[in-house]
């Protein structure tokens, strides 16, 4: 043996190369963890998605993947990612928050929204009103929220993406009323926030305030959150009021390139987000009360969503950047309104 090796090192080299290949093959099967930094009410959705994606990925590649979640107010989550929270993907409440991660953190390119279909928004939702069973305060539309004695629950638009959708939906409704203009819309929204006794940091927190703590007469909520509350707590406790007009909420998703590249998870992170667009992913979205993009799946679940007239942020507010600057930036309209309460 010793003599053979001395004569030719080829067998030894082949053995070593084989060992290295085997080791690298084992390395490819090494379990991987992804971190999805998301907004408040997506807990149930991504529990289902993560489980289904992990099973699909395992079947396809043999690799075990665990998706860890971080939930919170969308704006707050974006700041955490900018400050160093190593998210492989972000699935936030609105595009502006991911724009901030691109602009301030430089963690993904500015054109991130064009990298996946439908502006990187695999599902949509809207804003509805959730009231207690029997609707004791007879709330039928946005206009009822400013009546004296009506207590309204909504989260803080400074930290919650959902709350920013709430605010803009109310503003848009006021604008669209006969004789409506910016001043009247502002007066309406000012009156509305006078009826808000508690501002939670995130949408899930305001659901807790309304549903579990029994505070308030009406919760301005994500449609999916309102439907979930009814499913979890029973239709005998709450009911949904569909306002005459609401806003098309488009929660986007994106791979955080710099983190995913550094962690070697870019391909998996991309596959994870693409999974959301598959029929299976769309089914899971619909089952968790998000409006699916896939027309077949949308048709299948159409009955669970109320019929609403929806405006878009581009139509009424000129896009997220402008809306953010005007309404939610420090010293913006919301700050002025809330300070004057």
């Amino acid at each position: 043996m010793k003599d053979a090796l001395a004569r030719s090192p080829a067998p030894l080299l082949l053995t070593l190369a084989g060992g290295l290949l085997a080791a690298s093959a084992v390395g490819a099967q090494k379990p991987v963890t992804l971190l999805n930094v998301s907004y408040d009410p997506t807990r149930e959705l991504y529990q289902d998605v993560n489980q289904a994606f992990a099973a699909q990925w395992k079947a396809k590649t043999g690799q075990t993947v665990t998706v860890r979640m971080s939930h919170g107010g969308s704006g707050k989550q974006a700041r955490s990612v900018i400050d160093g929270l190593e998210a492989d993907v972000v699935t936030l409440a609105l595009a502006y928050d991911i724009d901030e991660i691109a602009a301030r953190g430089g963690l993904l390119p500015a054109n991130w929204q064009s990298r996946l279909p439908q502006n990187s928004t695999p599902y949509t939702s809207t804003i509805v009103l959730l009231v207690r069973k029997g609707n004791p305060k007879r709330i039928r539309d946005w206009g009822d929220l400013i009546r004296p004695g009506v207590s309204v629950i909504s989260a803080n638009p400074k930290t919650s993406g959902g709350a920013r959708w709430n605010y803009l939906a109310a503003w848009a409704w006021a604008l669209r009323q006969p004789g409506g203009d910016e001043a009247k819309a502002r007066a309406f929204v000012t009156s509305l926030y006078k009826n808000v006794p508690v501002l939670d940091a995130g949408a899930r927190g305001s659901t807790t305030t309304f549903v579990e703590r029994g505070i308030g007469d009406v919760l301005i909520a994500w449609e999916n959150e309102a439907l979930l509350a009814i499913r979890e707590l029973g239709p005998d406790k709450f009911e949904i009021v569909a306002p005459s007009l609401s806003i098309l909420a488009e929660p986007p998703v994106a791979v955080v390139d710099r983190v995913a590249k550094k962690r070697g998870t870019a391909a998996m992170a991309q596959a994870y987000l693409e999974f959301l667009y598959t029929p299976e992913g769309q089914e899971l979205a619909a089952k968790n009360y998000y409006r699916p993009r896939n027309t077949a799946v949308a048709a299948k679940y159409a009955s669970q969503f109320p019929k609403l007239t929806l405006i878009t942020i581009d139509q009424v507010f000129g896009g997220w950047a402008k809306a953010q600057r005007t309404h939610f930036a420090d010293g913006g309209v919301f700050d002025q309104i809330y300070a004057s309460r």
Binding site: S151, A201, G205, R213, I215
Partner: protein, 459 residues
Amino acid sequence: MSLPSAGRAVLVLALLLGAPRGAPAQQDSTTRDSLSARVDALEQRLRVLTRLRELEADSAREAARTRPGVAAGADGFVLRSADGRWRLRVGGYFQADGRFYLHDSLALGINSLIIRRARPIVEGTVFQYFDFRIMPDFGNGQPTIYEAYLEARLLPALAIRAGKYKPPIGLERLQSVTDVRFIERGFPTNLVPNRDVGFQASGEFGGGVLAYAVGVFNGVPDLGFGDVDASDAKEVAGRLFAVPFIRRGRHAPFDLGVGVAGSIGNERGTVAAPGTSALRTPGQLTAFRYRSNGTVAGTTIEDGRRSRIEPQAYLYRGSFGLLAQYTVSRHTVRRDSAIAKIRHSGWQVAASLFLTGEKASFRSVTPKKLFDPRAGHWGALEIAARVQETSVADAAFPVFADPGASVQRIRAWGIGANWHLARGVKLMVDYERATFLKGATAGNRPPEQFLATRLQTVF
């Protein structure tokens, strides 16, 4: 926080009882509805207030988690990033000593009050794993950078340090000077380096049961303190130290530490910088030195291999403490054409006892009752005693050292008392008597009786 239905009924009933009697049924119904509405409104307000308190508590928790920390206390002044990966501590210590030489008929020592040490310390951590420390000393009337180093703590078993610091040899030298039981360290410390510049790898295994340190240093004489090197020769120093019961924590039978340390290297002195070592008395007077008159023929220089070895141990049980070390330092010296290997040695056994019941330790001790005379608390009282000896081999005399001026051996015993007012704040008083072999033109140098006092503050 919602009122139970029975409670609501009782509340409404109680309010109704306060209503006028004999009112028509219609009026009763209206009043009942009105009161019910008021109860509902009050209940809502109570729930809102409770929820607001919850949210405030959440915000406070979040703020505490994300806000950088600032603290001031016994550990100095500390700034810390929210994630703990960055830290800056500003602290220091101050020692004001009194030195008195009793029955000093030859006036060998000068009674004096001195600022022995005045050392501000700036230390911290950057990027979680990298520590730094800068410690100047303004004591003895001479500002000096006493320590300055960087350390990368890569793993529990591996940290890399570079800069100027204590080489890992002498046990009492490695003990913080604010924690030593006597005002001046013992003779073995005179035979090891004080501070030196170099690189060191260190770490521990088994949760601290076994620690090691090994490094390469410029090399300094015994008790030496170096910033730059006068020769190309370097010195390797290392230490292996075991604390076998450390993992048993409070259930350990005693706190025992035992180890061995040493160094080996070469030194090439010159007439201008001989690189030789000296011996000091307990009162810090030089009692042994090699010959030096500024000429090649009349100056002993270090010229060749220099090595040190020190078995060392401490033991603490309850209020009692014991520290022992034995150090041998071997030198190759030359005077003109004469070369010799000279052995210096020293040992000490030092014991201490807290009379007020505190648990003794190699490190600082906090009194059970901090000094607070208004509350009748006086801190902690500790007594200490030690015996020690140091000597130089016969071969040093008379060619390399003058027996009429340098002693060959010092024996000493000493007692001391330490009044700990708070952690690191103490008053110390020591008495030490030393006798000498040789060191005088006729016979032996007269005994030294040394009384020392110290006021120490650590911040």
